[in-house]
Amino acid sequence: MTIWRQIAILFRLQLRDEMRTGEVTAVVVPFGAIALLVIPMAVGIETTLLSRIGPGLFWAVVLLFGIVVTQRRTAAASPAHRDALSLLGVDPAARFAATALASAILLLGFEIATGLAMIVLYDPVVVGWGWLAMVLPLVALGLGMLGTVAGSVADGRGPLAPLLVAPLAIPILLGAAQASEGLRLGVGILRWVLVLALVDVVLALVGVLTARPLEGTSS
């Protein structure tokens, strides 16, 4: 079986698991929307200010709740699960790619749902939909890969994974926030899109190249 076929099967199984448990759609998405609802209570009812800072708050929520999406129960593989996949001849790089892709798809859904909530609640100026259609998947893919690498490295040490992801996700958060700010100001954002793409390429290389060394390090 080719590595692409392995990725496709594992990816489909991960999304099916999510459909059954509803961990992201029924828990994390509403929780993210609640965060967007609660934050203005700390800022006050100054709607102009909220409209101005809305996109930045949205990206902060995507980062913090995105970590929860990548560390969902269905993305974690027990040592027995990993051993079974190894015995079946599944490439560790395929497992990384499938988990990262499934996380990215779920994160994209999370971004769209909370993005719509942010537009309704904060009424920001949203321009450059074409650029946003590139930025949102790039951010989702980057966070998905980073979360998957951190999940493998932390391996069941629950509180450690968010600490590993959050500071490392800052290049992604900065790229996304600067891109949306650039769209609002009407300046070119190509370099921020390239920064996001570069981070994604580096993370993909790290994830694929280190999948095998990380295999068999469960303790």
């Binding site: 490295v153 932390a154 450690l160 590993l164 500071p167 580096v202 790290v206 280190t210 060394p213 303790s219």
Partner: protein, 235 residues
């Protein structure tokens, strides 16, 4: 005491004298002398984390534990000097900018780098087995290095309160020769200190691993010879 440690003490003393005898800055006066600690600390942060990256890659390729120990030791020393760079930056920033902290790209990203490597050290402490620890932290050490160019170029990419590079820039350095000399002395002294500290920490890490793998926990320890008084048995 090792020769490198004697060299570290000597160069630190020379750098201290140089930093005190060079003329003060025309604008900031004596306040600018904090630069002779702040800039070398920031340089060591870059150097230490770059060494962690190289040692992490080397460990994954060779699977030799001494590379993992070098990576860990370098990160530990790097975190100390990143903390020192942040602290001296805040002390310098208060009289110059009027605030201890501001949401400037260089400051925020340096603080983020500090937390990334604190997480790296937390990860090292969370795994006992040296082989498993080595592989996991090597992967994290490679990903963490993404922060280094971001921190360095942040003052160029964003409008920043922090000044752009003065020495490591295209063209001539924008600093007077006596001040540049004192700064370079401080950089050399801090670098020698980094080598001395890292070597000492690598040896300590090797001793820790030997203790873990040789399993000498069942040997008698101080006080083991003292026996509890025998209980009086009924006649």
């Amino acid at each position: 005491m090792r020769p490198i440690e004697i060299a570290a003490a000597g160069t630190m003393l020379t750098a201290l004298v140089a930093g005190l005898v060079v003329p003060p800055d025309a604008v900031q006066g004596d306040l600018q002398r904090i630069m002779y600690v702040h800039v070398p600390s920031a340089w060591l942060a870059y150097l230490a984390f770059a060494v962690t990256l190289i040692a992490s890659v080397a460990h994954l390729v060779t699977k030799r534990l001494d590379w993992d120990r070098r990576a860990g030791a370098s990160a530990e020393v790097g975190v100390v000097f990143t903390g020192l760079a942040l602290a001296t930056g805040m002390i310098w920033g208060k009289p110059v900018w009027g605030v201890w902290w501001t949401w400037d790209a260089r400051l925020v990203l340096t603080a983020a780098m500090f937390f990334v490597y604190l997480a790296y050290l937390a990860l090292r402490r969370s795994v006992d087995d040296p082989v498993i620890r080595g592989r996991r932290t090597a992967v994290f050490g490679i990903v963490a290095a993404l922060q280094i160019p971001l921190v360095h170029f942040s003052v160029i990419w964003w409008r920043s309160l922090h000044q752009p590079p003065t020495v490591l820039r295209p063209g001539e350095p924008q600093i007077d020769p006596p001040l540049l000399f004192a700064l370079l002395m401080a950089v050399v002294a801090f670098t020698v200190l980094y080598v001395a500290l890292t070597r000492r920490r690598v040896d300590l890490a090797a001793a820790e691993d030997r203790l873990l793998t040789t399993g000498r926990f069942d040997e008698p320890v101080a006080g083991a010879a003292i026996a509890a008084p025998a209980s009086k048995e009924a006649p």
